[in-house]
Amino acid sequence: MGETRKPPAGELIPGTLDMLILKTLSRGSMHGYSIAQYIQEASRDVLKVEEGALYPALHRLEVRGLLKSEWGASDNNRRAKFYKLTALGRRELEEEAAYWSRVAAAVTRVMQTA
């Protein structure tokens, strides 16, 4: 295991990866690679997902029934696994998003008043 998992520069706040995945997938079905790409681009390269870490998260969400997966063909016609939000996932996303904005606003307020 030579390589240790050193946090990359744009490390995520722990626990936010699931939410980001759910949010990303709310736009429609995507495969793992494009999810990683999307998060990076949408955050203007601030958030760099450690790409490998994406997969345990995706599978965990699938086991919990928040995502559904399906094998299909990618743009360049390769076999790829596409993920999609389930109804359960959509609800989870709403809750997490609401919680996130509350917390983020609170944190911002604290940071500004200090």
């Binding site: 295991m1 998992r5 690679y33 790409e51 490998g52 997969y55 345990p56 599978h59 919990r64 928040l66």
Partner: protein, 897 residues
């Protein structure tokens, strides 16, 4: 909650699809890397550079794959696999132990599976009818000194049906035997006479043709008949064109309207044909009598109605009928009894007891194997110590032990289920109890689940025993007890406790088996009032001569006006049978004892004060020829049997059983006293008592269902169906062929049936007790064997443990007998404790089996015998290791140190 369930589901399916998931994950990661690589190449990287960069960005591929995989599986499942593999490996290493343990468990688990599958086979849903929980049998009851089941009359039935509001429908049913005249071979078959509603109520339809139409029942010119599947195949070659054909039953002609599906034998479970109720009875005029009762009624409850509500409903109806028809319906009630209780009722308590017994056997087997496991765990101390040192926590070790136990019980279950399957078939085939024909115990899903549950429970027990033992041992070590002897004693306490438990369970089973054996012996020893040995009984049906069409086999209520004469006289048949060599004596009789025939009448004794309705004298009537009492060896207490002159239709001679005399003329000479049928005002003639005979258990064992006496009338040679009882000087069954030949010799059209030694009829009465006795006996024997093996094992172990101590004792001058006393005394303490607990438990438990017992309680000599037997065998099991101990060479024992 949903999420958790989903997760469990996903993970369970993942277990099955393991391989595919693995491949998919590989593909998914490969795809990602390829995409990234392509990006880098487009950005100007070299091929190798692009690949490296893509990998760097992805992270540790193997590690992440592993992480992902973990999302899918229960981590514990993975280690469970390891545990199971490990357990199997260790078991393979000691095949002797494994064999013994698996066999003991297989006996226990197999027994449980077999008995449970029998219980499962007699559950409510086993009835082969639609919604059987709503099917009820309605009994017309009479309240005499106690409530007696009697039956319904047709007018009563019509009123119940019209007035009850809790039923979807009702159907009358009854059965009788009829002679099917077909080709040269007339055959006696059981026919059910049923209301047309009967079939829709049961939810059974004809396989060919149709069942009865409502308007068909009792209509003047339609004699519809339904064939049973077996009869159809046997006598009609399974030809579907048979529908519409005419068939003769007795002297009447019927038209076949349909064939019932395979396996359907009606509620009597023996029917091979069906007739509409009123038609069979002989038309509407034959069933008009409200006081003439004798059949049962099937009812289907409306959806959601409880049997108690239906009972209340019918109670109200009977009260109305009682008010409207006081003559016939006073003290009459209806009893609503669920069909499954009627069908399986007698089997269930026996099976419940057997279930308990077989669970005991399993517990003993578990205790035994637990002991073996403890012995092994001691041998494995080093291994366990090593594993602990390597960081295996206490829970992890416990899990390992429980897994091992479950692997053992699992193997035991596999062998046990195979044993059970073989045993079940044998059980049902040889059972003295006749199971309903549709009962076929099998290892189905429910039985399987039960077996799995039992095995898991057993496995946990097995795992916990060595664990508890190890704990005690560790405790002993921690406390650093000074003397080594007491240290050992602590460690063996667990094993001794198991032996005590085994002994006490075995005692309970042995006492139980003893009680059943005593019950059966009591039943067998019960004098039925006659001597059933060497008596052959048979029934014959003599057809009538040339018809004007009238029936020869009379269904209960049929009364043809002018029947043509029978083709032969029963007296002639009797004379021929008497002439057979080997026949000591023979008699004609209207109904064979214990065969379920016989009719009750009310009678009046001359010069007696009137009695209230509930105590009107009632008796069962049998018509016999003079030799009957001699043939049955019924003692004549006063007077004599009939003489030949009295065997005539207008005879006024009567023989009564003792109870008549004790009731009306105690201490007086009964000869010449008079009785008559019916009430005082009845026009029937007065009959003079010519003889008094002993009471017979004519209608059932261990006792007649009601204490009514028997009246014997002279035989009248005009009934087409009569029975013979034949006392033989050789085994009765061996004479059956010559008796048949003699009867046929009189007239070849006479049908002979129910040729049965009387012994067998007596045997059938005790069948349920014998069934329970045999199985209890087998289980008790298994228990005894297992317990003895267990005791032997532990004693041998203790002797080995104490070799050094014994050696020192011997060296210090103790003699062989001292050592013997020491070791056997040790065992005797365990056995004594086990017996004490077992006897206490047996007394506590006997209440639960009291319905199965007859004339015996746990405080019986047989219990003492059971305990003595166990004690003797158990002590013998101690004696052998003790003997070995006396042969210990002090020198070797000390050198061993």
């Amino acid at each position: 909650m949903i999420q958790q369930l989903l997760a469990i589901w996903h993970r369970l399916t993942a277990l099955v699809r393991r391989r595919r998931l693995e491949r998919d994950l590989d593909d998914e990661v490969a795809f990602h890397l390829a995409m990234r690589e392509a990006d880098y190449r487009r950005a100007g990287f070299s091929d190798a550079g692009a690949r490296d960069e893509a990998r760097r960005r992805f992270g540790n591929v193997t590690y992440l794959k592993e992480q992902t995989r973990d999302m899918w599986i229960f981590p514990s499942f993975e280690s469970l696999r390891q545990d199971v593999r490990y357990a199997l490996r260790t078991l393979r290493k000691s095949p002797g132990f494994t064999l013994v343990a698996v066999f003991a468990l297989a006996v226990g688990i197999g027994g449980n599976t077999a008995i449970f599958s029998l219980m499962d086979a007699v559950r409510l849903q086993a009835l082969p009818y639609q919604n059987p929980d709503r099917l009820m049998v309605l009994w017309g009851n009479v309240v005499r000194t106690k409530v007696e089941r009697r039956g319904a009359s047709y007018p009563d039935y019509l009123d119940w049906k019209a007035q009850a509001t809790t039923f979807d429908g009702m159907a009358a049913y009854d059965n009788f035997s009829a002679i099917l005249a077909l080709g040269d071979e007339p055959e006696r078959i059981t026919v059910e006479m049923v209301s047309p509603q009967y079939f829709p109520l049961l939810g059974v339809n004809a396989a060919h043709g149709r069942t009865f139409l409502e308007e068909e029942d009792g209509a003047a010119n339609t004699n519809a008949f339904l064939l049973g599947d077996a009869l159809w195949k046997r006598r009609f070659g399974g030809d579907p064109q048979v529908v519409g054909r005419a068939v003769r039953l007795g002297a009447r002609s019927f038209t076949i309207v349909g064939v019932m599906p395979p396996g359907f034998k009606g509620l009597t479970d023996t029917a091979e044909g069906w007739m509409p109720f009123v038609t069979a009875a002989g038309g509407p005029s034959a069933v008009g009598e409200r006081g003439s009762r004798g059949f049962q009624v099937l009812g289907r409850l409306k959806r959601g109605v409880a049997p108690a509500q239906a009972q209340a409903d019918l109670d109200a109806v009977s009260r109305r009928l009682e008010a409207a028809y006081p003559d016939t319906n006073s003290k009459r009630a209806v009893e609503v009894s669920p069909l499954d209780a009627e069908t399986f009722g007698p089997l269930r308590p026996a099976l419940r007891t057997l279930m308990a017994a077989v669970i005991f056997v399993l517990l003993i087997a578990c205790a035994n194997v637990a002991n073996l496991l403890i012995a092994r765990s001691e041998a494995r101390q080093r291994e366990i110590a090593l594993r602990t040192a390597l960081g295996a926590g206490w829970p992890r070790l416990l899990r390992q032990l429980v897994t091992e136990g479950c692997v053992l019980t699992g193997l035991g279950a596999i062998v046990g289920v195979l044993l059970a399957q073989a045993a079940m078939r044998a059980l049902v085939a040889t059972s003295p109890v006749t199971f309903p024909s549709f009962v076929s115990p099998e290892v189905n899903l429910r039985v399987m689940l039960f077996t799995i549950a039992v095995s898991l429970a057993g496995g946990v027990l097995l795992g916990l025993a060595p664990a508890a033992h190890a704990r005690i041992a560790r405790l002993a070590e921690a406390l650093k007890d000074s003397s080594r002897g007491s240290d050992g004693r602590r460690a063996t306490r667990m094993r001794s406790a198991l032996v005590v438990a085994e002994v006490s369970l075995a005692v309970v089973l042995l006492v139980g088996a003893g009680l059943m054996i005593r019950t059966v012996r009591n039943l067998m020893a019960l004098h039925p009032g006659f001597d059933p040995s060497s008596v052959l009984s048979l029934r014959i049906s003599i057809p009538r001569g040339a018809p004007p069409a009238a029936q020869s086999t009379a269904p209960p209520a049929a009364a043809p006006q002018t029947p043509p004469p029978l083709v032969a006289s029963a007296r002639v048949v009797l004379d021929r049978v008497k002439a057979i060599p080997g026949v000591a004596s023979a008699s004609l009789v209207s109904d064979v004892p214990l065969s379920g025939g016989g009719a009750a009448i009310f009678y009046t004794a001359e010069g007696q004060p009137p009695v209230d309705a509930q105590n009107v004298p009632r008796a069962y009537v049998h018509r016999v020829t003079p030799d009957f009492f001699a043939t049955m060896r019924v003692p004549v207490k006063a007077g004599r049997s009939f003489n030949e002159n009295e065997i005539a239709p207008d005879s006024t001679a009567v023989v009564v059983s003792e109870r008549v005399v004790t009731r009306f003329w105690p201490g007086q000479d009964p000869i010449g006293k008079r009785i008559k049928q019916g009430g005082l005002t009845n026009k029937s003639p007065w009959l003079s008592i010519v003889g008094v005979v002993g009471e017979m258990k004519y209608r059932g064992l261990p006792d007649n269902p009601t204490p009514d006496p028997d009246l014997y009338f002279p035989f009248v040679d005009r009934a087409p169906q009569v029975s013979l009882v034949v006392r033989t000087s050789s085994p009765p069954a061996s004479l059956a062929p010559s008796v048949r030949a003699a009867v046929r010799g009189v007239d070849s059209t006479i049908t002979i049936f129910d040729v049965t030694p009387l012994d067998e009829l007596v045997g059938q009465q005790t069948a349920q007790s014998r069934f329970t006795m045999w199985l209890m006996g087998i289980f008790a024997a298994c228990a005894l064997m297992l317990a003895v093996v267990g005791i032997y094992g532990v004693m041998s172990y203790l002797v080995t443990q104490r070799t050094r101590e014994i050696g020192i004792r011997l060296a210090l001058g103790a003699g062989g007998p001292d050592i013997l006393r020491l070791v056997v005394g040790n065992g005797a303490r365990m056995i004594g404790a086990g017996i004490a607990i077992g006897v206490a438990a047996a007394f506590a438990l006997q209440r639960l089996v009291s319905t199965l017992l007859f004339g015996v309680t746990a405080a019986d000599a047989s219990s003492l015998f059971a305990v003595a037997l166990l004690a003797a065998i158990a002590l013998a099991a101690c004696y052998l290791p003790a003997l070995r101990a006396t042969r210990v060479s002090p020198l070797n024992a000390l050198r061993y140190e």
